[in-house]
Amino acid sequence: MRSLIDIKELSLEEIDSLVNCALDIIENPAKYSEKCKGKKLATLFFEPSTRTRLSFEAAMYELGGNVLGFSEASSSSSAKGESVADTARMISCYADIIAMRHPKEGAPLVAAMNATIPVVNAGDGGHNHPTQTLADLLTIKRKKGRFDNLTIGLCGDLKFGRTVHSLIGAMSRYKNIKFVLISPVELKIPDYVKTEVLDKNGIEYVETTDLQGAMAELDVLYMTRVQKERFFNEEDYLRLKDSYILDLPKLQNAKSDLSIMHPLPRVNEISVKVDTDPRAHYFEQALNGKYMRMALILMLLGIK
C-alpha cells in the first residue's frame, strides 16, 4: 500500500508515468470513466479549501467512483478531540483512499502511518502540497513539451510559499534547469532551500528583486501572491506591492512562448487583463490538477 505525502517520494519514472497517464485521460476520457466504479474517496478537509477539494472530488467522479467526507474540522470528530491517527483508522473502514488537508504540518503523514488505505496529502499547513506540484508539472509538460532545459522564474512570496518550494524540489531533479528567484528582500527564498536543494543538486539560480528585468529570459513564470501581513510595516508593503503585480506592460519583453502559471487563488498579483493573453496558463493549470489527481488515484489504488 502506497501513500503520497511529499512530491520527493515519487521517482522521475513515476512522475513520467503519472504525466503519461494524465495525457491519456485527456485524450481518452471515456476509457477511464468506470475505472474506479465501486471505489470511494474520503476527502478529509480539516480546513476549508475550494479548488483542491472539488478537484479531488471531480477526479474521483470522472473515474466512476464515489466521494464521502467533510470540508471543515468542526463537522468532523476532531472537534470532539479525536486524534488524526484514530480518524485515519476509522475512515479506513469506510473508504478506499483518503485525500487529507490539515492545518498542522505532518498530519497526513500521521494518517498514512495509521491508515490501512492510501493517503494523499492535499496540503498540510505551509509544508507540502504534492498534488499542486503534480498540476504544475503537467502544465509545464503540456506547454513546454519537456522538463529539462528551462529557465523558470518564481515570483512573489518565495519565503513562505510551499508551492514554490515543492516546485523547486521537483524541477531540480531535471537537467539544465535555471531558476530566477524574483522577490522582495523580505520574502527571499529560505537559505535551506538554497543549500539543501539548489546547491546540493548543482542548480544554477539568480536572486533578483526586478520582475521586469528578469522577464526576457524566462520560459516559465510562476507567480505567487505577496501578502500584506508578511511585511513588518505597511510603508514597505505599499512601496513594493506593485512591483510584483504582473500586467501587460511588464510582459512586453517576455518570450512569445512564455508560460505564466499561478497556483491560485489569484487576488491582484496578476492583472485580469493578462487572462486573455495566450501565455496565461493558470486556469488550465487548475484543470491539469484534476487530471493528475485522477492519474494519482489510479496509481495508488493499483488500477491500470
Binding site: S83, A85, H102, P103, K104, E105, G106, L109, V110, G125
Partner: protein, 138 residues
C-alpha cells in the same frame, strides 16, 4: 580518575567538556541504583579537558542519545576490572523521543501522544529534521 575501580560496567569517555551533565540527564542515569560518577573538566592529553561518566553496572545504553549529544565520545565496556571493548559512537540516523519539535504548526504540538521523531538529513552539518513537519531541530 581511575577506570580500574569499576569491576563490571561502562565508562563514557572523551565527552566534550561541559556535555557530561546533559548526557547524565538524557540517558536518565539518575534513575539507576548503582554508582554513577561524573567527572567534569578532567585533564586530557588529547582534548585538553573532557568530561567522563563511570557507571558501575552493565546497563543497556541508548547509543543514539550519546551520538546525538556528543559523537566524539567513546564507550568502554569493563568486565572483571578490565576494558574488554571500546566503541566509538556516531551520529544516529534517527532520534525517537530525545528532543522535541519546536514548530508550533507541527502536528506534534497538538497531538502529544505522538512519538517525537527526528531524522539526520545532513550528516556534515549535523542537521536533524522533524519526521512530520521537517523543521530543523534546535
Amino acid at each position: 580518575m581511575n577506570i580500574d575501580s569499576i569491576k563490571n560496567g561502562i565508562v563514557i569517555d572523551h565527552i566534550t567538556a561541559g556535555l557530561g551533565m546533559e548526557l547524565y540527564s538524557l540517558l536518565k542515569l539518575d534513575t539507576l541504583d548503582c554508582s554513577v560518577v561524573i567527572g567534569k573538566n578532567v585533564g586530557s592529553r588529547q582534548m585538553g579537558k573532557k568530561d567522563i561518566i563511570k557507571i558501575d553496572a552493565d546497563i543497556e545504553l541508548d547509543v543514539a542519545i550519546l551520538g546525538y549529544v556528543d559523537p566524539n565520545a567513546t564507550i568502554n565496556i569493563i568486565k572483571n576490572g578490565k576494558i574488554v571493548e571500546k566503541k566509538a559512537v556516531e551520529l544516529p540516523k534517527k532520534l525517537v523521543n530525545v528532543i522535541s519539535c519546536k514548530n508550533p504548526r507541527c502536528i506534534t504540538s497538538c497531538e502529544q501522544e505522538l512519538d517525537q521523531v527526528f531524522t539526520l538529513t545532513d550528516k556534515e552539518n549535523r542537521v536533524y529534521r522533524c519526521l512530520y513537519c521537517e523543521a530543523k531541530a534546535k
